[in-house]
């Protein structure tokens, strides 16, 4: 999968989350995503960006625009060096939250994209990668 372009944005504050949503919306449009596809990708990004800020104590998001044949896709990796997720299965359960959230961010984001992957270890941080094709 050749990368057309990529960049890294930092995620520390609420303002950064807004910024990520705007950047992802623009990229999704560039990839030719339909309105529904754009909204899904932006919403998934919003969930994961907020987790990075709230639970991961801040981090970065790496975005990559990919091509495969005529298809275009967008891959986002949310990376933090926070506490990690001790029980991944539990964290991915609909409705489970360790904070005061709805507990639908991780599981919901997973349903909004084509590929979803989490690497995490206690004390080592978390990396969530999502990919959506046009």
């Amino acid at each position: 999968m050749p990368t057309v372009k990529s960049d890294t944005l930092s995620l520390r504050s609420e303002q950064d989350i807004v910024n990520v949503r705007q950047v992802v919306r623009k990229l999704a449009q560039e990839c030719g995503f339909s309105l529904v596809e754009q909204t899904k990708m932006v919403t998934a990004a919003s969930e994961l960006a907020r987790n990075t800020v709230t639970y991961g104590k801040g981090g970065d998001v790496l975005w990559e625009m990919l091509t495969e044949g005529l298809k275009k896709g967008l891959r986002l990796s949310f990376v933090d060096a926070g506490p990690g997720i001790p029980d991944l299965e539990l964290a991915l359960t609909d409705g489970w939250t360790s904070g005061g959230g709805m507990g639908l961010g991780l599981s919901g984001a997973k349903r909004l994209v084509n590929e979803f992957e989490i690497e995490t270890a206690p004390g080592k941080g978390t990396r969530v990668t999502i990919l959506r094709w046009k």
């Binding site: 930092s10 520390r12 303002q15 919403t43 969930e47 709805m102 599981s107 919901g108």
Partner: protein
């Protein structure tokens, strides 16, 4: 000398300058990505070289000179919008000086007089370009401030009375926690003041409904009901409805309508009111 340095030492100048631009950029700065910043550096230096090749830097006119000006204007106004300061904006141009001078020193050898004269010319040129960025920045900044003032005015009175007993809250823009809190409190307050029975929250102007926004909405609906009033959410666009369903958010207990007009007609019906044509 300046022209020949730009021609012959171009790659060195570019690499040194880009390294400096990148290291001066703080990691927590989200306004501009590293790749974007580097590409702006490359474009600027190559436009400068083009103009120098055609002798347009000295004359201050010609197509390449214009392209250079336009490029600077474009990045300066986008920096103004992104929240950079004017000195950060001008700093992009000024930071190049050091590397141009170093390159000129490398070629000038012992010819101190020629170097001094040439250095002065380059200083004048970059100051002129730096000033251009500041002027553009200023103009764009004023536009931003005017727009923000307009938005603030709109936001200060978001709760509107649609009918006796019916309030509407048209939500616009990003619903971050702080803003939602303020707006929701205003709505509850006005419900009490006007003794309204029905509140309509219209989210047509909300670009993204994630689980945090959904949670805010559900909490507000609950609070409104606790006060003995009813709540209708309107303006959930099709793409947002689909996304909410995939997220797994359950809005089943909430009355929703496609648009504000439908919500109002439902509200009127609930109040036992009908609107119809007058028979003549």
């Amino acid at each position: 000398m300046f022209d020949s340095v730009l021609r012959d030492d171009y790659q060195n100048i570019l690499n040194e300058w880009l390294a400096e631009l990148q290291s001066a950029k703080s990691g927590s700065d989200h306004r501009l990505g590293v790749t974007e910043l580097r590409s702006q550096g490359e474009t600027f230096l190559s436009l400068l070289r083009d103009a120098s090749k055609k002798g347009q830097l000295a004359s201050g006119q010609g197509d390449s000179w214009l392209a250079l000006q336009e490029f600077l204007e474009r990045i300066s106004s986008s920096r103004a919008v992104q929240g950079f300061t004017s000195s950060e904006t001008a700093g992009f141009v000024f930071s190049l000086k050091k590397f141009l001078f170093a390159a000129m020193r490398r070629t000038s050898g012992a010819n101190a007089e020629a170097l001094a004269a040439e250095t002065w010319k380059v200083t004048e040129l970059l100051d002129k370009l730096g000033l251009l960025t500041v002027t553009t920045y200023q103009k764009a900044r004023e536009d931003v401030i005017r727009r923000q003032q307009e938005e603030l005015l709109e936001l200060s009175t978001p709760v509107v009375k649609l009918w006796d007993g019916v309030l509407a809250l048209p939500m616009i823009g990003t619903l971050d926690s702080a803003r939602t809190q303020v707006v929701m409190e205003a709505l509850l307050q006005r419900l009490v003041e006007t003794e309204s029975e029905i509140a309509i929250i219209d989210i047509t102007g909300v670009p993204t409904v994630d689980t945090l926004v959904a949670q805010h909405l559900l909490k507000t609906v609950t609070a409104i009901r606790l006060m003995g009033a009813d709540c209708i959410i309107s303006g959930i666009r099709p793409q947002i409805a689909q996304t909410i369903v995939h997220l797994g958010v359950d809005l089943q207990g909430v009355t929703t309508k496609a648009n504000l007009a439908d919500a109002l007609s439902l509200a009127l019906k609930r109040l036992g009111l009908t609107v119809g044509k007058v028979k003549q």
